[in-house]
């Protein structure tokens, strides 16, 4: 199935969790948050939350700014 991960189209196995996508993009262990289809997925739900076909995932962290 296909999903958008941080703006890039990706082929993901059916049943891929948000947690798997977070490690796929190489996110650091802390200071990271995820939005799925425009809503925050709390860290405690990363394992249980499955990315749907056509899902839009954003994985964000803090950078220098402001």
């Amino acid at each position: 199935m296909k999903a958008q991960v941080n703006g890039t189209a990706r082929d993901l196995a059916d049943g891929t969790s948000v947690a798997a996508v977070v490690s796929l993009v190489g996110a650091p262990a802390s200071g990271v948050a995820v939005a799925l289809d425009g809503a925050v997925v709390p860290r405690a739900l990363w394992d249980k939350t499955i990315v749907p076909d056509g899902g839009v995932v954003e994985v964000l962290t803090a950078v220098q700014g402001g």
């Binding site: 650091p28 964000l60 950078v63 402001g66």
Partner: protein, 251 residues
């Protein structure tokens, strides 16, 4: 003299809030932050793969500086609200520097989107520090809907043009019941001192320090300027006179 800055019940000894953008590298940033004496510093939220691991969070934690996530880059209320919620999840803070800008050329706040986002975030339990225009009416409205500060610009972000409308800043500080933080436009130390003399409770700046030729020394300069301006404000300046007035006794 004990004169803490208090935002949403939290006390800070420093009245200088800094940003982390624009520094050549983390080592330069670290020296500038330490010299500035800041206790509260902004970071931006970006996609993991485009940003890489910057190490800025680790740096701030090591220095004991509180992290203030911003919503830089957001153009709409909806974007800003989601970014704030992501920052709360990632950084475990409900504080947010709210930025909703209208366009890239001016980076001026979009007042309609800003007010809407501020209201939604306040209702969602955030401590909202909004970056706003130097508009005394908008500042009052932001305060009235429950923002923890109002943060009017001196001039557009990154311009270093200083405080272009000091009277507006004074109108804002004279009516505010929350701390007023002069945010954006600071070019050099005298701009920061003026902000404090106009009654601001704090100054937020980044570029003026991080892109100075010597960021560490400019960080120290800003620290002194904010302290000096605050002292002058509390001391009460003399009235301005048209004619000279001798300060020595007559011969």
């Amino acid at each position: 003299m004990d004169d803490p800055l208090i935002i949403a019940g939290r006390e800070f000894r420093s009245r200088l809030i800094t940003g982390t953008g624009g520094a050549a590298n983390l080592s330069v940033l670290e020296r500038a932050l330490v010299a500035s004496g800041t206790e509260l510093t902004t970071v931006a939220m970006r996609r993991v793969d485009s940003a890489g691991q910057t190490g800025v969070l680790e740096l701030l934690r090591r220095l004991g500086i509180e992290v203030l996530p911003n919503t830089a880059g957001c153009r709409t209320s909806a974007e800003a609200v989601l970014t704030a919620q992501l920052a709360r999840e990632a950084l475990e803070t409900n504080w947010v520097k709210l930025e909703v800008v209208h366009d890239e050329e001016t980076l001026l706040p979009d007042p309609v989107e800003l007010l809407d986002a501020a209201e939604r975030l306040v209702n969602d339990g955030f401590v909202v520090l909004p970056y706003t225009n130097d508009d005394p009416v908008l500042a009052l409205k932001l305060q009235d809907i429950g923002c923890a500060t109002v943060m009017p610009l001196g001039s557009p972000i990154g311009t270093g043009l200083g405080i272009r409308n000091p009277h507006n800043i004074e109108l804002i500080t004279s009516r505010a019941s929350v701390p007023v933080v002069l945010d954006a436009g600071i070019g050099t130390a005298s701009d920061a001192a003026l902000a404090m003399e106009l009654g601001c409770s704090a100054v937020l700046l980044a570029t003026a320090v991080t892109r100075a030729q010597d960021p560490e020394r400019m960080g120290a300069a800003m620290r002194c300027a904010v302290e000096g301006g605050r002292l002058a404000r509390l001391a009460g300046r003399i009235p301005q006179r048209f004619w000279a007035q001798a300060s020595s006794p007559k011969v």
